[in-house]
């Protein structure tokens, strides 16, 4: 470890960063710490609060238990006390701290007594310390009290000293988080004195201990523990201060500790030991369990409990699945740069240990650079990976089949006995055992392996029909049969487990793979969420929902799978809490555990982008740690994908902005020229008319008036097109799609351009059976009108204009054709660009905007547009739209009923053609 003193440790830097950043908004925590009840923690806390109050600090008493003692009560005077929350629980009214009221009041400093308290059911958090964490996170300073026996990592030590197991514990992490710890100390004699005077409220668990709790030797030991804890803490602080940083989380070394957790309840001791080691080395630590695939349900549950304990003590937890304990642990250790492994001492009494090296030995032998600490477990503490574990359920059918198979072997062997030697008959049994082992595995195989030699011995070795063995050579047959049977059954067993583990791993990997593939394909948040909920529902067996925040950070459901939408106020509140605090909550967690679903934040770049909710189909099961990790992985993937779409949207809007900028500049040049010309004409003509003193002839006057009217018309057209273009380009623009028969739009456009087309011949060819198109009618009419206007303008009078429509290859194609001079070669693409006019221009009346509008409209409809010269001469303008499914109720169904007022009949009759 000589290096680590010199080399800057990235972990420590990160921790410092993490701790340093949000401190500005985070409240400060002060703990009043004592060896046991009665030392005066609440008194000390209130005294200090009074001082703060005098200093002008906004102090509020959130919750204080004075136990009706006058001197403590007296200290409450002058302090604002928050009314408690009364909770109805099994007929009694429980007095609880009102977290929401405190958050709403938002004082500078709040007093919350008894940090280790367990909240009544129905409150947001299971534990009061979680309430305190939330207060701190929202920027409120907190004073609180706690006794040494409530510290999680000291829990077992205290239990040893006083003989009472304390159930209400506080994770060590909250101690580490405390900015200040004040030890409230009282010599044991004084405390006993006060106790005898009746000045101490005796808590429930102490009373249960039958007065043994407050014995002097207990108190001395507890006092030592409290003092030592405080001293350690002070020591750590000194180290930090010396390093010249104000950091309260001194992860100074690059030590990394891993603890192996087994299914034994006594693993708890090992976990606590690891926690103390991690604490002493001031480092973080990981608890892992290696689970063979056929772990029994009971062992699984115990491992889960043990890992939960480790989590409470501040460890990161992981379940590795695999057959070989040492392989898995070592591979993981290398991957995570573990320097120390802590493991419980295995119980060596089992006979099977003689045949196989214990996993612990294996681990120690192969650990290489990594230190392995073997810690004493108690009694039947076993190595984490159970060897030859029993199958989950005893499969009576397997055992019955084994008996059947062996009976059959005997039946086959019996008639052959006369002709074959006994050794060969043993082979028949061997075959039977192999069959049983491959087919039923485990217990039945062992049963077969033991029974087969016995049966062989009983029937086929002299003396017959006894279990005695006369000829020693049969002893060899017997032993070989037994060993082979056992070996094969263990081998098959292992192969089965491995394939099951591989299968489980495959399923998980596949689920992740499919989800990430789907997420990669999704283009927007809604389709991402839809894909994610489907996978989450499949993999985790529940109803899934994704909620995303709106602009004011209120969550709204965007996708769900199953009948759960998290709409109920309770569920929505839980989800909102998760989003706001970026922490898990709900079912299977300690926060708002009454919620139907578990909610987890979708965090990317340190920000919650939404919430994923999962309501299990079997709420009585809890989420196992490996499932939690998997769920977390899903959430992370979704969050990253959501972030990606957000970035894409940003890029798109930036691109649009740039484009808009370019349009704006073109617009300026257009306005300066195309608007001024008609305006000049109008202003000039009007002033000529105004100045006229009768010199102008009637014909001239009319000519001037006509040009005013014409130019005004041109201006109107130009302004209209500019407005259209602007509207189409605006960000909030939406198509008003409805179902139209195309011929109606063609008719409307022709009607509008009646005057312009008067000197041309117009033909239409729109088939009657053309499907309806789902378009913005006004805009498509605009496209047609622009096409018509364009061909009318660039073709001589008397030309033929044809409007044609057809369905081709899943698209509706609409064409406007003329037989005029056509487009200038090479300009086919350019005509759709803004402010580009067709050349050679016969007049200057075009704005160069009409076809650009067409292009924008068709693009918005998901269609294509084009212009080219026809081989037979003339120009061809066309656009095509995707031929969408017809509207749902449009089939051959009878048309809607008419009410009484539609006289002839309520329902329209069948088609009657003239």
């Amino acid at each position: 470890m000589g290096m680590s003193a010199v080399r800057p440790d990235p972990d420590a830097l990160l921790a410092r960063l993490r701790a340093g950043q949000p401190d500005a908004h985070r409240g400060r925590l002060k703990l009043f710490f004592g060896m046991c009840a009665g030392v005066g923690k609440t008194y000390a806390m209130l005294t200090e609060a009074q001082e703060k109050l005098r200093a002008g600090v906004d102090v509020v008493v959130g919750y204080v238990e004075t136990h009706g003692r006058a001197e403590t009560d007296a200290l409450l005077t002058g302090l604002e006390v928050l009314p408690p929350k009364w909770v109805e629980y099994r007929g009694t009214r429980l007095r609880e701290f009102d977290l929401d009221a405190a958050l709403a009041r938002k004082p500078a400093l709040i007093l919350v007594d008894e940090l280790a308290h367990t909240n009544a059911e129905g409150l947001r958090h299971a534990k009061r310390w979680q309430d305190v964490v939330e207060l701190l996170d929202s920027g409120i300073d907190v004073y609180t009290t706690v006794n040494v026996q409530h510290i999680e990592s000291l829990n077992d030590v205290v239990a040893q000293i006083v003989g009472v197991v304390v159930r209400e514990t506080v994770p060590d992490s909250i101690l580490e988080r405390a900015d200040e710890i004040e030890l409230v100390d009282l010599p044991p004699d004084d405390l006993l004195q006060r106790l005898s005077e009746g000045k101490v409220y005796v808590p429930e668990q102490a009373r249960r201990a039958g007065g043994q709790f407050f014995r002097k030797e207990n108190l001395v030991a507890l006092r030592e523990l409290a003092l030592r804890q405080t001293a350690e803490r002070v020591g750590a602080q000194v180290q930090v201060e010396r390093a010249g940083r104000g950091d309260t989380r001194p992860w100074a070394t690059s030590e990394r500790i891993l603890v192996c957790v087994g299914p034994s309840p006594l693993s708890a001791r090992v976990i606590r030991t690891a926690r103390r080691m991690a604490g002493a080395a001031q480092t973080d630590w990981i608890a892992v369990s290696v689970e063979p695939p056929n772990q029994s349900e009971r062992a699984r549950a115990q491992i889960r409990r043990n890992l939960k304990l480790a989590e409470r003590l501040g460890a990161e937890t992981t379940i590795l699945s695999g057959e070989r304990f040492a392989d898995e642990v070592l591979a993981f250790s290398v991957q995570r740069n573990i320097t120390k492994i802590v493991i419980g001492k295995p119980d060596r009494s089992r006979w099977i240990e003689r045949f196989r090296a214990s996993p612990v030995d294996d681990l120690i032998r192969r650990s290489g650079e990594i230190d392995v600490h073997v810690v004493k477990g108690e009694g039947e503490e076993s190595a984490p990976a159970p060897r030859l574990a029993l199958p989950r359920k005893i499969e009576w059918r397997g055992y019955a089949a084994t008996l059947g198979v062996l009976a059959a072997c005997t039946a086959i062997a019996f008639p052959l006995f006369a002709r074959f030697s006994a050794e060969n008959l043993a082979m028949i049994y061997l075959a039977g055992v192999v069959f049983v082992a491959t087919r039923y595995g485990g217990g039945p195989a062992v049963l077969g392996a033991i029974l087969a030699p016995l049966l062989f011995n009983f029937f086929f070795t002299a003396p017959y029909y006894t279990l005695a063995i006369a000829d020693p050579q049969y002893l060899v047959t017997f032993v070989v049969l037994l060993v082979t049977a056992l070996l094969i059954s263990s081998l098959t067993q292992r192969v089965r487990r491995q394939s099951e583990a591989a299968r489980a791993r495959y399923l998980r990997t596949a689920a992740l793979y499919f989800m990430s593939r789907q997420l990669a394909a999704a283009a927007d948040a809604a389709s991402l969420a839809r894909g994610a909920v489907r996978h989450v529902a499949d993999v985790f067996q529940g109803d899934a929902v994704v909620l995303l925040p709106d602009s004011s950070q209120h969550l709204a459901g965007i996708a769900r799978q199953g009948g759960f939408s998290a709409d109920e106020p309770n569920e929505r509140a839980a989800a909102q809490w998760v989003h706001d605090h970026q922490k898990w909550a709900g079912w299977s967690t300690d926060t708002l555990p009454a919620a139907q679903a578990i909610y987890l934040p979708l965090i990317a770049s340190g920000k919650s982008l939404g919430v994923l909710g999962l309501r299990p189909w079997q709420p009585e099961r809890t989420l196992e740690p490996d499932q939690r990790h998997m769920l977390e992985t899903f959430a992370t993937q979704l969050a990253i994908a959501l972030e990606r779409t957000a970035f894409a949207a940003q890029a798109e809007s930036a691109r649009r902005e740039a484009e808009t900028e370019q349009v704006r500049s073109s617009l300026l040049s257009c306005v300066s020229h195309d608007l001024r010309t008609p305006l000049a004409t109008i202003a000039g003509s009007a002033s000529t008319l105004l100045d006229d003193r009768g010199q102008l002839s009637e014909a001239t006057r009319r000519e001037l008036l006509q040009s005013i009217a014409d130019e005004a018309g041109r201006l109107n057209q130009l302004v209209g097109k500019l407005l259209d273009m602007t509207r189409l380009e605006s960000v909030g623009f939406r198509l008003q799609r409805e179902w139209y028969p195309l011929d109606e739009l063609v008719g409307a456009a022709l009607n509008r351009l009646d005057a312009a087309l008067r000197r041309h011949r117009v033909e239409t060819a729109v088939p009657e059976d053309l499907p309806l198109v789902n378009v913005d009618g006004a805009l498509i009419e605009e496209v047609l009108a622009n096409f018509l206007e364009n061909v009318a303008r660039y073709t001589p009078a008397g030309s033929l204009i044809t409007v044609r429509a057809a369905v081709a290859g899943g698209r509706v194609l609409v064409e406007v054709l003329d037989n005029g001079p056509g487009l200038a070669p090479g300009s086919e693409k350019d005509v759709f660009r803004r402010f580009v006019r067709r050349t050679p221009a016969t007049d200057r009346s075009g704005s160069g905007l009409g076809l650009a509008i067409c292009e924008a409209v068709v693009r918005l409809h998901g269609g294509e547009i084009g212009a080219e010269n026809r081989p037979e001469g003339g120009a061809r303008f066309w656009f095509s739209l995707p031929a969408t499914e017809p509207p749902p109720e449009m089939g051959q169904r009878a048309l809607p009923d008419a009410p009484a007022q539609s006289t002839p009949a309520a329902i329209d009759g069948p088609e009657v053609r003239p």
Binding site: L745, L772, A778, P887, A898, P899, S902
Partner: protein, 233 residues
């Protein structure tokens, strides 16, 4: 429109527009009253009981649609609105609120005068329903008594709904009818949103009655607004 000249109320805040409307209205033989804001207009409408109202939708004080609603509470006086371009929804809302027709700005005075004339005629018809049993539009004849439709003397078979649709359209000849108005009239209030039914029936009517259904002369489409039946193209 007997001896006394008809009175037309113009509710319009733009003085130049009122300025050129006055000679046009007076040239048509009507009397003009002016109001430059919505509230004033409503007051004027109740006091001088005009025969027709020209209403600009963009008024400085209250929304033009609000003006229509308030006037419609007590009067069926024909209202022709002036609407700016690109405000299709406003147009439709105004028509649904009870306006009789619209003229998009900028407009030619003769077009406005024609619209007012049609509106006045319809108002007169409403007051004294003519016993006219047939409607003739070009080569189309609708015999309302015998419920018979002929085109160029040939009988045209119409389904009941087609017939109903045709009579509603022809009954408001010259005026625009919104999709909602037509759906309500023909199918009933429950179907006011299903405009594609309407489009299909209009197409069928055109195929049966128009010479060239893609270049209709009688049943005209006002895209985004509704339909207008024209007797004389």
């Amino acid at each position: 429109m007997s001896g006394t000249p008809a009175t037309v109320l113009v509710i319009e805040d733009e003085l130049p527009i009122r300025r050129f409307l006055r000679p046009a209205v007076e040239a048509a033989g009507w009397r003009l009253i002016e109001a430059d804001a919505g509230e004033r207009g409503i007051l004027e409408a109740s006091q001088s009981r005009p025969d027709a109202i020209i209403l600009d939708l963009g008024l400085p004080d209250i929304d033009g649609i609000e003006v229509i609603r308030r006037i419609r509470e007590w009067s069926t006086v024909p209202i022709v609105i002036l609407s700016a371009r690109g405000q299709d929804q406003d147009k439709v809302d105004a028509l649904d609120a009870g306006a009789d027709d619209y003229v998009p700005k900028p407009f030619s005075v003769s077009e406005l005068m024609a619209r007012i004339r049609v509106a006045l005629r319809h108002a007169a018809n409403r007051a004294q329903p003519s016993a006219e049993p047939t409607i003739v539009a070009g080569d189309i004849t609708i015999d309302l008594v015998r419920r018979q439709v002929t085109r160029q003397g040939q009988e045209v078979h119409l389904t009941p709904i087609e017939y109903k649709l045709l009579t509603v359209l022809a009954g408001h000849a010259g005026l625009v009818l919104t999709h909602r108005q037509l759906l309500k009239e023909v199918w009933g209030p429950g179907h006011a949103e299903e405009s594609h039914y309407l489009r299909i029936f209009v197409r069928q009517l055109r195929h049966k009655l128009e010479e060239n259904p893609t270049q209709p002369r009688h049943i005209l489409t006002e895209v985004g607004v509704g339909y207008r039946f024209v007797v004389e193209p």
